[in-house]
């Protein structure tokens, strides 16, 4: 793992993740998660559904951001080269025509990238039927964006808007930093379970060593999720065909969590 995905997956990363429980607070309130064993089942289900969706979209976002960064980089190198007499660019019969062609390619690429980011955003929305979960995802994206702009500046974020889905933003940052889509997918798949696991420790006073061991036992499932995510992101021609597994109970828990405003709530989701 590169430094970027390590930092983004760190619980100490200041992106506002610590106030989200990923449904654990509501599950605990309803007695669905009571101990380490029930937590294990909850985390496995979350990993294979919300985790897989997030991982596939992070991988796709990493690919898209890397392409955008490459396109800009090529353009910049081209510009440098045109200023050098010895370069092949200078020998072209009609440099002005070549520049115009290059500019039109860049414009077409920008429009295509913008559409692709929009499609990823819309498809992630479509895979998140709970309004509370969409809000939580965008709230984490907004918070992460603040931290990300300071550490990994890039024009790519303008395409994502002020409230990007968290998984898309994490994927974009990994792509910008030159990390492969696999690391982006691993980062968000891990976050899909590490945050809820930490929330359970805080809410139930569970043995932190036992909970940490549960996370490690999830490794084969996490590897499978990452593999599926990376494979589909690489071989899916249309965004609509990215994985769309659902966990209706997670959607219902998220909705129930925000439904009773007067009730005790320690987490934002």
């Amino acid at each position: 793992m590169g430094l970027t995905s390590l930092v983004l997956a760190d619980a100490r990363f200041p992106g506002g993740g610590h106030v989200h429980s990923g449904g654990v607070e509501e599950a605990v309130a309803r007695g669905l998660v009571q101990d380490v064993e029930t937590l294990r089942g909850f985390l496995l289900g979350r990993l294979r559904t919300a985790g897989l969706v997030a991982a596939a979209f992070a991988a796709a976002a990493a690919r898209l951001a890397a392409r955008g960064t490459d396109a800009r980089g090529t353009d910049a190198r081209g510009t440098d080269a045109r200023g050098t007499d010895t370069d092949a660019w200078a020998a072209q019969a009609s440099p002005a025509g070549a520049w115009a062609a290059q500019a039109s390619v860049a414009g077409a690429w920008a429009a295509q990238a913008s559409r692709a980011w929009g499609a990823l955003d819309a498809e992630f929305d479509a895979r998140t039927p709970s309004q509370a979960q969409r809000e939580a995802s965008r709230a984490q994206g907004r918070g992460t964006l603040r931290a990300v702009r300071a550490a990994w500046p890039s024009p790519v974020y303008d395409e994502l808007g002020p409230r990007p889905h968290h998984a898309l933003l994490v994927g974009a940052v990994c792509g910008i930093a030159g990390e492969p889509p696999e690391e982006a997918a691993r980062c968000v798949a891990y976050l899909a379970v590490s945050g809820p696991a930490s929330a359970a420790v805080r809410l139930l006073g569970l043995d932190p060593f036992a909970v940490n061991a549960v996370l490690i036992h999830l490794e084969p499932a996490l590897d499978a999720v990452v593999e599926t995510a990376v494979h589909t992101a690489a071989h899916t021609a249309v965004t609509e065909d990215l994985p769309a597994p659902g966990a209706p109970v997670l959607d219902l828990l998220a909705q129930a969590h925000v439904a009773h405003r007067g009730r005790l709530r320690l987490f934002a989701s």
Binding site: G16, V19, G118, A139, R142, E159, R163, A199, L264
Partner: protein
Amino acid sequence: MSDDHGHGHGHLISFDPTETDHDHHEATPASGRAVRIGIGGPVGSGKTALVAALARSLGERVRLAVVTNDIYTTEDADFLRRNAVLPPERVEAVQTGCCPHTAIRDDITANLDAIETLEERFGDLELVLVESGGDNLTAVFSRGLVDAQIFVVDVAGGDKVPRKGGPGVTTADLLVINKTDLAPLVGANMDVMTGDATRIRGALPVITQSLVEDPAATEVGAWVLEQLACVPARS
């Protein structure tokens, strides 16, 4: 309802529940924003009561809003609203995920979001009071979140508290020793408390107060107004 949410495309149906909250702010704007003052201190020391007193005494003169971090999320906000100290739309509550100190120090995202939401709602805010959840003596606000901070301890918590120190007592821009009216009842020696506090804090100010005797928190209010006057220098 807009079908364009800021990144160059529209959705047939908007699935973004937050899109009505316009968010055109860059992270941590450096100027042209409200002054942010943090109010921290242990559980029960009187933070909410101080915020209520300040809102009452300054509310007519200063355009202010409040962010609360109580661990029960809406408890403080409800107190402020119920007592009609501030209209409900001027109070934002944040959830801190069981970690009140994290939300004001290590990961200030939730609080920055709440402040920016208030600033977007009221374009002309002059002052945002950020009340931390009750915590221990080590909790301080990040300088990335607030411009100045008040640490509140109370006489009933024991007259040794200032001597114990900790970052809140030693480094806060203002230390308030609250509930002085209780001193005779709990056998606290005010001279010990103020003496220790002054010694440990050097030149930093200490104010002793009783909101029973002075419900307007006059001295603290004056200090807050002084901070507002420093705005041009700050931005």
